[in-house]
């Protein structure tokens, strides 16, 4: 009975910081069998559960039917095979995964593995580029006078909400042959005269970085805004190099925002399909495009399901790697220890 009440209460207290005022409540008192102290009154536990379930029921059932069950069903589907007419044959083997690793009818080809690797690489590079641009950007905004700061912040929020198709379309226009960027590239000999700068890897990265820069910068800004600048000065006074100031004074303080930014950039960038489809062309496919193909033109749902699971795995690996190596100083506990 205690364990049901105490953790939740202490959580709320921690979040709201209203601990002392709640002192007069006594959750430890056992009001009797089947009863529970809740909101300062004594309630029958079963009655509370019934009311709670009635409130949450519709939403939870919705999420179960349209989200949890189908996502798990993808696992089962990945063990089936495509029939001759795009139907599903339940054969229960791992041929789809073999195909993913390159074993096909005509021997081994690395095509799918290349796409997987490329998705990881593109996600990583986009994230790194966004971090590199987002730090100066957020520092610049955070050090402006208040009015200008609000304006600049709004300038960052607008692209955050702008539709990705519209933004990608804008890049297709800018990179088209008649405009300066493509002309300069042609003059320097990177592309033939009169050719657009897309499709290709350059256009893909440009499109991805411009799409995800606001996603990186906004969470990071929330950390930079609260930065303790005295620590930076202290580090400089102690003869820290610029790099040391960054790793020792800035990075630990901005880590919460950075973590959110990396997660909301890396995962969607890896699975991106609009930008790569319009700016990357067929040669620059990512796993997102491959999945879309299976559920679209090829109508090979079982293979598409296997690809979804692969993407899920890549996502988890990315999260894991970030936790492992992205935090060289370790978790918050270590930091606290260092400070004291």
């Amino acid at each position: 009975m205690k364990d049901t009440l105490e953790p939740k209460d202490s959580e709320t207290v921690a979040k709201t910081g209203t601990g002392p005022r709640l002192m007069n409540r006594t959750p430890d008192e056992d009001p009797g069998p089947g009863l529970v102290t809740w909101y300062g009154g004594i309630h029958r536990r079963s009655e509370l559960y019934l009311k709670g379930s009635a409130l949450m029921g519709p939403g939870l059932i919705w999420l179960l039917i349209f989200l949890a069950l189908p996502t798990s069903a993808l696992t089962l589907l990945s063990l089936a095979q495509r029939g001759d007419f795009g139907d599903i044959h339940w054969v229960w083997n791992v041929d789809n995964y073999k195909r993913l690793l390159g074993y096909g009818l005509f021997g081994w080809t690395p095509d799918h593995l290349i796409i997987l690797g490329r998705s990881l690489w593109v996600g990583l590079l986009t994230t790194v580029a966004c971090v590199a641009l987002a730090y100066p950007l957020t520092f610049y905004i955070a050090t402006r006078p208040p009015k200008l700061r609000t304006c600049l912040l709004l300038l960052l929020i607008v692209p955050f909400w702008t539709n990705v198709v519209v933004r990608t379309y804008a890049w297709m226009l800018i990179l088209s042959p008649q405009l300066p960027p493509a002309k300069i590239a042609a003059f320097l000999g990177f592309i033939p005269e009169g050719a657009p700068l897309f499709p290709g890897s350059f256009a893909t990265y440009i499109g991805l970085v411009s799409t995800f820069l606001p996603f990186m910068a906004l969470p990071l800004y929330s950390s930079v805004e609260r930065l303790n600048w005295e620590l930076l000065e202290a580090a400089r006074d102690l003869y820290a190099s610029r790099w040391q100031v960054f790793t020792q004074a800035i990075l630990p303080q901005t880590r919460p925002g950075l973590t959110v930014g990396v997660i909301v950039t890396f995962i969607p960038a890896m699975a991106m399909f609009v930008v790569t489809d319009l700016l990357g062309g067929a040669k620059y496919m990512l796993i997102g495009n491959l999945i879309q193909n299976q559920f679209g033109q090829s109508r090979d749902w079982p293979f598409g399901a296997a690809l979804c699971l692969a993407l899920m795995t890549l996502t988890l690996i990315g999260l894991f790697l970030y936790r492992r190596w992205g935090n060289p100083e370790g978790g918050p506990e270590k930091e606290g220890g260092k400070r004291s």
Binding site: K8, L55, M56, G59, L67, P136, V166, T168, L278, T315
Partner: protein, 265 residues
């Protein structure tokens, strides 16, 4: 500090330029009087006029608004109830954790997996009833599914910051049941619910991947329309349409900013 950091300022300004130049170019060319090519041939509104005479575009805009409206209402009700249930009842800790995971799932899963899972569900349900042919219904159902999570998260954070003191005080004063909910909890929670609904509405209008997978021939939304015409090449009408979408975004952001500042004061 500022004057000493010209590189930081330069990178920052370049980044902002990098974010805005493409959109501005689209806006400029949307009033350019040339059917083909990107050479300035004088000012015109004619691409905008054509836009408003194009039935396919008007229908797509209507579909976008309709889908966003219906799904937002449904997701706000479901999400708010879910948040209240999660936050205001003494669930065992493990159960809370499991339910949290379910609610957070759409936020961390790549959209395309969610879309694939939805296609799978609709295909299965179509076997049971003809209601689930790809179209407006499936589009709205798909949108509600990811909106619920975001509404729940926003409303829950508001519930957490409200704390329980006020509810308890109201109970001490013998407010119970529906009176307590309608007169105390709901008014306090309203800003959170409104913020969640606004988020859900914007997400729905903005969504491409899930709409792309779950839409039918009769329920093309604006992003899908733009995408399919872009694949056929750039055209002045799409410049004009993109500029309008952009302007609406700017206005929504400004309105949200005003609203939040109004609330802060």
């Amino acid at each position: 500090m500022n004057a000493k950091r010209p590189i930081v300022a330069m990178v920052a300004i370049c980044s902002l330029v990098f974010l805005y130049v493409p959109s501005l170019a689209v806006a400029v060319f949307s009033v350019n009087n040339a059917r083909y090519g990107l050479v300035w041939k004088g000012f015109t509104w004619k691409w905008y006029e054509r836009l408003f005479n194009n039935e396919a575009i008007l229908e797509a805009a209507l579909n976008s608004l309709l889908a966003a409206g219906i799904s937002t209402v449904a997701a706000t009700i479901l999400g708010t109830a879910l948040a209240l249930g999660l936050d205001r009842f003494p669930w065992p800790r493990r159960l809370t954790k499991a339910m949290d995971l379910l609610v957070h799932l759409p936020v961390v899963t790549p959209d395309i997996i969610l879309a694939a899972a939805l296609v799978l569900t609709f295909n299965f349900l179509r076997g049971l009833s003809g209601l689930f042919d790809l179209g407006m219904t499936t589009l709205v159902l798909g949108h509600i599914t990811f909106q619920i999570s975001f509404v729940t998260l926003v409303v829950r954070s508001r519930l957490a910051s409200l704390g329980r003191d006020i509810d308890e005080a109201a109970r001490d004063l013998y407010a119970t049941g529906s009176y307590l909910f309608l007169r105390v909890t709901l008014p306090l929670l309203a800003p959170g619910i409104l913020a969640g609904a606004m988020l859900a509405f914007t997400l729905s209008l903005d969504d491409f991947i899930i709409s792309f997978f779950t839409h039918g021939p009769d329920s093309v939304t604006l992003p899908i329309y733009i995408y399919s015409s872009v694949r056929r090449g750039v055209s002045p009408e799409i410049h004009a349409l993109s500029t309008l979408v952009l302007l609406v975004t700017v206005m929504l952001v400004l309105a949200a900013e005003r609203f939040s500042r109004f609330r802060a004061n």
